[in-house]
Structure formats: structure tokens, C-alpha cells
């Protein structure tokens, strides 16, 4: 057990900091529109690529550097510390899917462009009637010669409006058990028949999108993996969504807490023992999450694939952020409800879906009980 950087890690961190000092992209946080944010993110992706910071933990043969997952965590942490835009997470996990399940031509075609940021990906998984129960998805892909014809309706396709390509899950065989009839595809978002429409969240900001698929023709060589292998591909992909990248959340959290402490002090609230205790508790929860994530990361470093214990981090993350936003409302409730602090209201509403997306809190508890604690299923 050693929480310090190893020599290698320290060297990497120093190099990264020097690079960030020169190259960090600003303006993301205060961008006027989602479109502007997407443009900044794309530029930032390219810069990171030029700096050698995209796909750094991928194998060398696929354009990576084979670095330890620890370096990904440091990258997350330091870009957070430097107030950089978020790291392009989709590149990371869709790259994994391509490496593990792609054909050689697919890898050659997509991996370089994914690393460089020339292709921005979105994820076409969830549907109106397939959320927590993702395997119930209904979008159909029917083979027609050298193509598949896709019809369906996807929800919660983050960045759908700005993505170039989509990793799509569709049902190719309705006659087998639901997990076995799903296939993954790589689809150009400019293909005719695809319509993207924004989903506006409860606080009024357009944050994600729904995508309608109408007779969309997808060449068969853009199928990822075999027919029926889609579920396994999706599960692998999703597992790489969690884990060390949470560290990106942790630096955001630290900043939010520091801002809240400052705002509370300015309002004269930090003379109240109750407020002090609640702010200190928010600090404790953040630390507890950080230290749990470090343990998860250590498992990854020691070669274990991301597992169900990630559900524990997800629960802690949810609790952490939702509690922080509750605290902000409790301290600045009147300001928040009278339009003086729209930022608190925005963050509050943004904190609510954390217990829904990426597996709801209820699903996470099922996973912990049954797969981590080994409790019996009915």
C-alpha cells in the first residue's frame, strides 16, 4: 500500500503538468451554448491527441502507449485541476470495444480517427422502453443483402447532435432470449434516415438527445462482432465507462465544495456550527469517494478487469453529489428559488439523474447484493 506516485507516475505527472500549463483549453465551462461547448471539446480532443494523451493506455499496436491505468487517473485528476474541458470519454471506451471486438479493417479504419478526434462517437443504447432493462431494446436491424436496415428510437444519446458516428445496439433476432438477439453496429450519423432531437432536462437545459432511426441502411461490414454478440460488447463497453474516470468527477467536486465554502463564508454562514459540520461532512464524503476510487483503480492497475465493485463507487458518487447539491440548496435555498443563484438550481437538477443513468441506484444495489455479496436470487 502506497498512496504516493511511483517514480514513473511522478515523471508522467510532471510532464503532463508542464504540457497543461502551455496547452490547457479554456472557455468550456462558461460556453454560451451546447454547440459551442461541443466545438471546444472537439478542439481540446485534437490538442490532447497532439500531446499524446489520447488512448495512452491502449496497446501500442492500436496507436496507444500501453501506459498503466494509473496514468489515465492522473490525466483525469490533473486536467480537472487545470480546469480543462472534460476528457473525451467516448473515445476511450469505444476504442476498447473496437480493439476487443473489431475486425482488422474496422480497427484500421476507426481507431486512428477515434484517437485523433476526427471521429466523435455517441452511444445508441437506451430506448424509451429500455432503460435499466437495456436488454429489452426494440430497435430492429434486419439483414438485407450486404446491408442491415435499422428502425427504432434511441433515448439518452449524449452528444447525438454533435457526433460523427454511433455505436448502435439493435435487435437482429427477436426469437431468441432477449440478451442473445442483440447486435452492435458502427453507424455514420450522416446516413439518411437518422434524425436527432434534443432532450431538454428538468432545469431547462438541452443536455442529451433522442435519435430516431427510419429505414437506416448500415453496410454489413460495419457490424461490430458477430450477430448476437451485442450484449457482451455493450457490457464490456459500459464497464469501461466507470472506474478511474470518476476521478474527473472528484476534481470537479473539490472545486464545487471549495466554491460553496467560500460562498457560505461570504454570507456569514460559517459561524454556524451546523453549517460548519455539514460542509465538513461534504469534505469527508468527497474524500471517502476519492479513496474508494483509488482502491478500484489499484485493482485495475494490478490487472483485474473492471468489476461489480464499481457499483460501490457509483453509489458513493451519487450520494456525494446529491448531498452536495442538497447542502447548496439548504444554504442558498432562497437565492436558488428566486433566480439569484441559477447555478445551484442547475447543478441540483443535474444531480438528480445520477441515480438513474448508467444503472439506477436500485440496479446498483441489486448488483452489489447478488454479484458482490453473493445473495441468492429468487
Amino acid at each position: 500500500m502506497d498512496y504516493r506516485d511511483s517514480a514513473e507516475e511522478a515523471e508522467y505527472r510532471a510532464g503532463l503538468r508542464a504540457w497543461l500549463e502551455e496547452n490547457v483549453q479554456s472557455g468550456y465551462e462558461h460556453a454560451a451554448s451546447q454547440q459551442e461547448r461541443a466545438a471546444i471539446a472537439r478542439t481540446w480532443h485534437r490538442k490532447l491527441y497532439e500531446g499524446g494523451y489520447i488512448g495512452q493506455s491502449w496497446p501500442v499496436e492500436w496507436g496507444g502507449k500501453g501506459l498503466s491505468p494509473a496514468m489515465d487517473a492522473i490525466l483525469n485528476e490533473e486536467t480537472g485541476n487545470f480546469n480543462a474541458p472534460p476528457l473525451p470519454g467516448t473515445a476511450g471506451y469505444i476504442g476498447r470495444a473496437l480493439q476487443m471486438y473489431g475486425t482488422d479493417p474496422q480497427r484500421t479504419r476507426f481507431l486512428p480517427a477515434t484517437i485523433s478526434g476526427d471521429i466523435q462517437w455517441c452511444q445508441g443504447f437506451s430506448e424509451p422502453s429500455a432503460g435499466s432493462d437495456l436488454a429489452a431494446l426494440r430497435t430492429r436491424a434486419v439483414r438485407d443483402g450486404d446491408e442491415y436496415i435499422v428502425n427504432g428510437h434511441k433515448m439518452w444519446t449524449s452528444g447525438g447532435q454533435y457526433a460523427d458516428w454511433c455505436l448502435l445496439l439493435a435487435r437482429t433476432d427477436p426469437d431468441v432470449p432477449k440478451h442473445k438477439g442483440i447486435t452492435a453496429f458502427l453507424v455514420d450519423m450522416k446516413t439518411p434516415g437518422i434524425t436527432v432531437s434534443p432532450i431538454v432536462l428538468a432545469d431547462g437545459s438541452p443536455e442529451t438527445s433522442e435519435v430516431f432511426w427510419e429505414d437506416v441502411r448500415v453496410p454489413a461490414d460495419q457490424r461490430l462482432g458477430d450477430e448476437g454478440e451485442g450484449w457482451r460488447i455493450a457490457m464490456t463497453t459500459v464497464s469501461y465507462e466507470r472506474g478511474p474516470s470518476d476521478i474527473g468527477f472528484i476534481s470537479t467536486y473539490r472545486k464545487s465544495l471549495a466554491e460553496l465554502e467560500e460562498a457560505a463564508a461570504k454570507k456569514g454562514l460559517t459561524s454556524s456550527a451546523e453549517v460548519r459540520a455539514r460542509l465538513a461532512r461534504a469534505y469527508v464524503l468527497g474524500e471517502v469517494l476519492r479513496l474508494n476510487v483509488l482502491q478500484q483503480l489499484s485493482l485495475r492497475i494490478s490487472g483485474r478487469p473492471p468489476g461489480e465493485e464499481g457499483s460501490v463507487s457509483k453509489q458513493l458518487w451519487t450520494h456525494c453529489e446529491q448531498e452536495l447539491q442538497h447542502l447548496a440548496l439548504d444554504l442558498f435555498g432562497a437565492e436558488a428559488v428566486t433566480g439569484q443563484r441559477p447555478d445551484y438550481l442547475h447543478r441540483y437538477f443535474m444531480s438528480r439523474p445520477i441515480s438513474v443513468y448508467g444503472g439506477s441506484s436500485q440496479i446498483q444495489k441489486n448488483i452489489i447484493a447478488q454479484r458482490v455479496l453473493g445473495m441468492p436470487r429468487k
Binding site: S126, P128, S129, G131, S132, D133, A136, M155, W156, I199, V200, L201, A202, D203, G204, E274, H326, L329, D330, G333, A334, A336, V337, T338, G339, Q340, L345, F349, R352, P353, S355, V356, Y357, S360, S361, Q362, K365, N366
Partner: protein
């Protein structure tokens, strides 16, 4: 002792429930199509605007009736200022012995009277603080009531706005909170005593508590109905124990809040102002403590769809957030309750 609604009160509830479905809001699009003046007229036709006018010194209807109406209108997300205008402004004018014509105006065409609130929403504002205060009322507010304590007594002050309200700042899409525009003011009626203000605050707290109970109860009903239809893993999500228990826990807090609000509402006209105020603070403390969680639980049961603008779930959450703050959140109420039980610090 009978702590439930009697026949007449049940009939009133049923009538207002039914009205609320026609003048209330079911989704964001309704907000644009609802015509406030017509809605207000519907309330007047049912006699709901006169509940706190005095007939030979007694209010036309008691705190319990006000509670029933406030609860049902909130449940239906009725975007009309029943609470600030028809209940609280009318009550203030009645307490100050304002002229009948003034009262007629308050409940006339359009919701013309608003209240001046402190920027932290914890109390009525004083006239001297006009520029920093907020107006709680409908878009057609023409007069705003505030207090004035510059003399020996506390007096009611009426502002007449020189232009319509603009700049609605409210988080709640069905209730308005506005920046103060330019206005002229005059004293109205007689001085208001401390006991009268206590009684008025008790009415305010219990009515806002009723509003919160209304939205919590109706929000949960919707989520339960959804849980019967929405299928996941081959069965309605309402069959999962996790969803059942979330709904059950929420129901427990709502029923508990309802019991406290009933008592507080009854106390308004039946007990001494300080006892009524203690009951009202108790009810408001509890409602404020559970309302946000209740509406969050509802959003959670709805899952992804409950997080979107197009779904009405956030309407309830927003109204819960505002109601929690109006006249003080849980910690404000607890501090006051502690003062009565433990003495000052």
C-alpha cells in the same frame, strides 16, 4: 374529537379537485394555453376567493377549508395565486379592517393583490425594504401589500404599481415571484397587532404546508400509476419491492404531513395565536423536511423520463423547492420551536 374532514368538507374537496383538473397544468405546454383571468373567474364562481373575508367579524370559512382548497389546487398544479392573493392578502386586508371596496378589488377580476416578501422569503417585507424585496403574486398584480413599522404601530401599506410586473424570478413555473417595479404607496386600514400577525403567520404556514401536501400526494399518485404500466425485466416496475418500499416510505411522510397540516389549519381559527403558530411551525417544519425528498423519490420512480422538461415531475419538485422556502424552511421553524421549548440562547 374528530380529526378528519366532515361531509361538507369532503364535498368541498371533491369540487375543488374537479375544478383543478380543468384549470391546472398537466405538462409544460399547458402553461402557455392557460388563461389566468378565466381561471381566476372559475375560482370566484366557486366562492373560493372569499373564504377569508369577514362576515360580522368571522371569516367566511375556517383554516380547514382554506387548507382543503390550497391542497387541491396545488395537487392540480393550478397556476393561480390563490394562496398569496385570495388567502393571505385578503386576510391581511380583513385584519386591518380595510374598506369593502378594497377587499372587493382583491378578489375581483384578475388576481390584483400580491404580497411583498423579504428576499429570503421568510416573512412579509417592510415598506422600507421595497427595492430589495420580491412580489409574490400573479402576473396581473396591481397592488402589493407590505408592512410599515416606522410609527408606533405596525400598519398595512398598499403599493400601487405604475407598470405591470415583469421579471418573474420564481423557480416554480406555476407561482410568480417578481422584482419590485416602481410604485406609490399608502397606509390601509387600522394598525395590526402582534397577535394578529401571529395568527396571520399561522395561516400562511399552514396553507403553504397544505400546498406542499397537495403536490406530494398527487405527484406520488402519478408515479404509482406509472409504476403499474412501465415494464422492466418482464414485469411492471411497481412489482419490485425496491419501488414499492420507496413509494411506501414516501406515502408515510405524506400522510404524516397531512395530519400535521390538518391540525395546524384547524388551530388557525380555534386556538390562541401563539398555540396556532406553534402548530403551524410544526406542520411547516415537517412538510419542509420531507417535500423535496418526496418529489425526488417520485422523479426516481419515473426513471429517465422523470428527469426531462417535458414530463411534469419537475413541476412538483420546483413547487416543493419554493414552498420549502416560503415563510421559512425546516431549520427556521425548528429554531423558533426550540425557542418556545428551550428558551432563548
Amino acid at each position: 374529537m374528530y380529526a378528519l374532514l366532515n361531509e361538507e368538507q369532503l364535498a368541498l374537496k371533491e369540487a375543488v379537485d374537479s375544478l383543478a383538473t380543468t384549470v391546472g397544468v398537466a405538462n409544460p405546454i399547458d402553461l402557455e394555453s392557460r388563461e389566468p383571468v378565466q381561471g381566476w373567474d372559475r375560482l370566484r364562481q366557486m366562492g373560493l376567493l372569499d373564504l377569508r373575508r369577514r362576515d360580522q367579524g368571522s371569516p367566511a370559512a375556517g383554516g380547514v377549508e382554506v387548507m382543503i382548497v390550497a391542497q387541491s389546487l396545488a395537487a392540480g398544479l393550478v397556476p393561480l395565486p390563490f394562496v398569496p392573493t385570495a388567502v393571505l392578502a385578503t386576510e391581511l386586508l380583513s385584519l386591518a379592517g380595510a374598506s369593502e371596496s378594497c377587499l372587493d378589488e382583491a378578489v375581483g377580476t384578475g388576481s390584483k393583490y400580491g404580497l411583498l416578501l423579504r428576499p429570503d422569503l421568510t416573512a412579509l417585507s417592510f415598506a422600507a425594504d421595497w427595492p430589495d424585496s420580491l412580489v409574490w403574486g400573479g402576473a396581473d398584480t396591481r397592488f402589493v401589500l407590505a408592512l410599515d413599522s416606522s410609527g408606533d404601530d405596525v400598519r398595512l401599506v398598499r403599493y400601487e404599481l405604475s407598470a405591470p410586473l415583469s421579471n418573474n424570478l420564481s423557480v416554480d413555473l406555476t407561482q410568480g415571484l417578481w422584482l419590485t417595479p416602481t410604485a406609490t404607496n399608502e397606509v390601509v386600514g387600522d394598525p395590526i397587532s402582534g397577535a394578529q400577525l401571529q395568527a396571520w403567520t399561522a395561516l400562511a404556514l399552514s396553507t403553504i404546508g397544505a400546498d406542499l401536501v397537495g403536490i406530494m400526494r398527487y405527484a406520488l399518485q402519478g408515479a404509482i400509476a406509472y409504476s403499474r404500466d412501465r415494464v422492466a425485466y418482464g414485469q411492471p416496475i411497481g412489482t419490485f419491492q425496491a419501488i414499492q418500499h420507496l413509494a411506501a416510505e414516501t406515502h408515510v411522510t405524506i400522510e404524516a404531513a397531512y395530519g400535521a397540516v390538518c391540525y395546524a389549519a384547524w388551530c388557525v381559527d380555534e386556538l390562541d395565536p401563539d398555540d396556532a403558530l406553534q402548530a403551524a411551525r410544526t406542520a411547516k417544519a415537517y412538510c419542509a423536511a420531507v417535500a423535496r425528498t418526496a418529489t425526488e423519490n417520485v422523479m426516481q420512480i419515473y426513471g429517465g423520463i422523470g428527469q426531462t422538461w417535458e414530463h411534469p415531475a419537475h413541476f412538483y419538485t420546483r413547487r416543493a423547492l419554493l414552498g420549502t422556502q416560503l415563510f421559512g424552511d425546516e431549520s427556521t421553524q425548528l429554531a423558533e420551536i426550540a425557542r418556545t421549548r428551550l428558551g432563548g440562547i
